[in-house]
């Protein structure tokens, strides 16, 4: 088991690169919203937001360097959130 006091230090370069990537993805989200792709607009926006969320989790929240238990706990949470959202959408879809 890892020591509780283990800490990770990032170089500024990595943090700035992540920040720039997030800003670029925000720009892409805005541009994508102006292109009419019908229902796909929602999925594209969600896809870009998921990538942005992943960057934040991996780097700003240090998930990239955490142990297996925390990663599994996190994935479990995402799984349940996915179930909750998809089941609700899916009820609306079949009404």
């Amino acid at each position: 088991m890892k020591s509780l006091n283990t800490q990770h230090f990032f170089e500024y370069k990595i943090l700035i690169n992540v920040l720039l990537t997030l800003l670029a993805l925000t720009g892409i989200t805005v541009i994508a919203s102006y292109i009419d792709l019908g229902k796909m607009n929602v999925w594209i926006a969600l896809f870009i937001a998921s990538i942005k969320g992943s960057f934040i989790l991996f780097f700003f929240m240090h998930m990239k360097y955490e142990g297996r238990v925390l990663v599994l706990s996190f994935l479990g949470t995402v799984f349940f959130l996915g179930i909750m959202i998809s089941f609700t959408f899916w009820d609306v879809g079949f009404r």
């Binding site: 088991m1 509780l4 479990g76 949470t77 909750m84 609700t88 009820d91 609306v92 079949f94």
Partner: protein, 544 residues
């Protein structure tokens, strides 16, 4: 065993004295007892409110309260019982007290967060009381369904905020327990050596942590709708009222597993101890606890068959609901198989556990009537539903709460209680329970709706009989509580292991010292190995 000071006389910070040694304590045992006192207060209050509801319904027409007060009474009864009693009762009281001891450690991982949880719980309770005395009693029922909860002029916002704060307390407790189990177990205690009560708390904590934020956000949305009127649930503004029901039940159905899972854990502890026999299917019970936590989170919409949800969703949620019955049944069969050919020592905790198995099984089986979409549409929102969930929640969790109280009371307070009063109380409670709720099943099948102030003449007989059952039940509850409170007047007389248990809490004095153990506890290879206990009792009977 050498004489040691219990946690009652050793505050967790030695500079704290008197009431401050309780209010600022970080000792998990003291926090557990503070929860016990406050939870008992709310429980007895809600029992009395339930008694008033039943008294009003004993006779047709207005008996002694107006329809408005009746609406408030059933709302309050539900809110207090659900948010202030059943959800926190077992994890907050017995989980706090026994989880660290069962895994051989001295406290939870975040002791200060633990105290904060208690303060949040108390704050939630006080806010709930404030909601009663300002701008009219809330009258929505504990479900706060839109559009009524948004449009009614009563004080829904404060009641909703109270539930929000109580949810925070629940989440912090769950987070604390998960971290404690992962990080603070005794080094030689593997996952398959953890006692089943702790396992059940582990499964419960995950549900608390994952599902509670959903209802917290949902309740905030109700407040936003009341104050700003965005239209999230209003079809005229592009919203969807059924979305509220989805969001509410995404938490509130898993919440019934938050309520029942620790109860199942308690029963899994009691049955082997009083059967003097290893529990049947330890691994199956562990797996079923986790399976209930997972499958129970996928079935929320079975509360919504008549709400206007799509037929496909009704079909799938009905199917999934039947899946949850499997792990629940695994537990019931395992308990019964443990009793089979056991050397049964009857005592009040076992008696209450046996009542639990019977009542919970009836509750579970009638749940299948409601889980099947076809039959649910017939009995939806009738007294059948009221009877069903009282069988599972009170016959289940409520009886498990009393079983836990009677099982662990000698350990917590170091005092043994009077068995005769305990049996009389338990018989009155169980008998009254049957007389109270069985007529409700019949009334429901006949079509009497729930939450109605008055009823048609054909329902008079059932309601009249149910009233008598309620009276016996309330007397039984008070007798069970008073019997325990009476022990506090006498000196401590309980041994460290009065029942012959094998889990670690029975290796420490009653009541335990501040840091839980006087000497290093011995972790058994298998937590329910009764070989030593049987030998010890055999020696005693031979007079050796």
């Amino acid at each position: 065993m050498e004489v040691v000071n219990s946690f009652f006389v050793t505050p967790s910070s030695s500079r704290l004295k008197g009431i401050w040694s309780w209010l600022l304590t970080t000792d998990h045992k003291r926090i557990g007892l503070m929860y016990l006192y406050s939870i008992l207060f709310w429980f007895l209050l809600a029992v009395l409110l339930g008694g008033f509801i039943r008294l009003e319904l004993m006779f047709p027409g207005e008996t002694f309260i107006s329809p408005e007060v009746y609406n408030s009474l059933f709302t309050l009864h539900g809110v207090i019982m659900i948010f202030l009693f059943i959800i926190p009762a077992l994890p907050a009281v017995f989980g706090n007290f026994f989880l660290p001891i069962q895994i051989g450690t001295d406290d939870v991982f975040f002791p200060k967060l633990n105290l904060l949880s208690w303060y949040l719980y108390m704050a939630g309770g006080i806010i709930a009381v404030i909601s009663l005395f300002s701008d009219g009693f809330p009258d929505t029922g504990w479900t706060f369904y839109v559009p009524f909860s948004i449009s009614t002029n009563t004080n829904v916002s404060t009641a909703v905020f109270a539930a929000f704060v109580l949810g925070m307390a629940s989440m912090l407790t769950g987070l604390n327990f998960i971290t404690t189990i992962h990080r603070m177990r005794k080094k030689n205690m593997g996952w398959m050596q953890i006692p089943l009560f702790t396992w059940s708390l582990y499964a419960t904590s995950w549900v608390q942590l994952l599902a509670t934020p959903v209802v917290s956000i949902t309740l905030l949305l109700v407040m936003i709708e009341r104050y700003i009127g965005v239209g999230l649930f209003d079809p005229a503004k592009g919203g969807d009222p059924i979305l509220y029901q989805h969001l509410f039940w995404m938490y509130s159905h898993p919440a019934v597993y938050i309520m029942i899972l620790p109860g199942m854990g308690v029963i899994s502890e009691i049955i082997p101890v009083f059967s003097r026999k290893s529990i049947f299917g330890y691994k199956a019970i562990v797996a079923s606890s986790m399976a209930i936590a997972v499958a129970g989170s996928l079935v929320w919409a079975h509360h919504m068959y008549t709400s206007g949800m799509s037929d496909t969703a009704v079909f799938v949620f009905s199917l999934l609901t039947f899946v949850v019955a499997i792990p629940s049944a695994i537990k019931v069969f395992s308990w019964v198989a443990t009793l089979y050919k056991g050397s049964i020592q009857m005592a009040p905790p076992l008696f209450l556990s046996l009542c639990f198995i019977y009542l919970f099984s009836v509750g579970g089986l009638t749940g299948l009537v409601l889980g099947a979409a076809g039959t649910d549409i017939y009995v939806h929102d009738t007294h059948f539903v009221v009877a069903h969930f009282h069988f599972t929640m009170f016959g289940g969790t409520g009886f498990a709460f009393f079983a836990a109280l009677y099982y662990w009371w000698p350990k917590m307070f170091g005092r043994m209680y009077d068995f005769k009063k305990a049996y009389i109380g338990a018989i009155l409670l169980t008998g009254g329970f049957m007389f109270h709720y069985v007529p409700m099943f019949i009334l429901g099948l006949q079509g009497m709706p729930r939450r109605y102030f008055d009823y048609l003449p054909q329902y008079a007989k059932g309601n009249f009989f149910a009233g008598f059952g309620a009276a016996f039940m309330i007397i039984g509850i008070f007798l069970l509580v008073i019997n325990l409170l009476l022990t506090l007047r006498k000196p401590m007389d309980a041994s460290s292991d009065p029942w012959g248990g094998t889990t670690l809490e029975w290796q420490t004095p009653s009541p335990p010292p501040l840091h839980n153990f006087v000497k290093e506890p011995v972790v058994l290879d298998y937590p329910y190995d009764f070989t030593g206990v049987v030998k010890k009792y055999a020696k005693n009977t031979k007079g050796e």
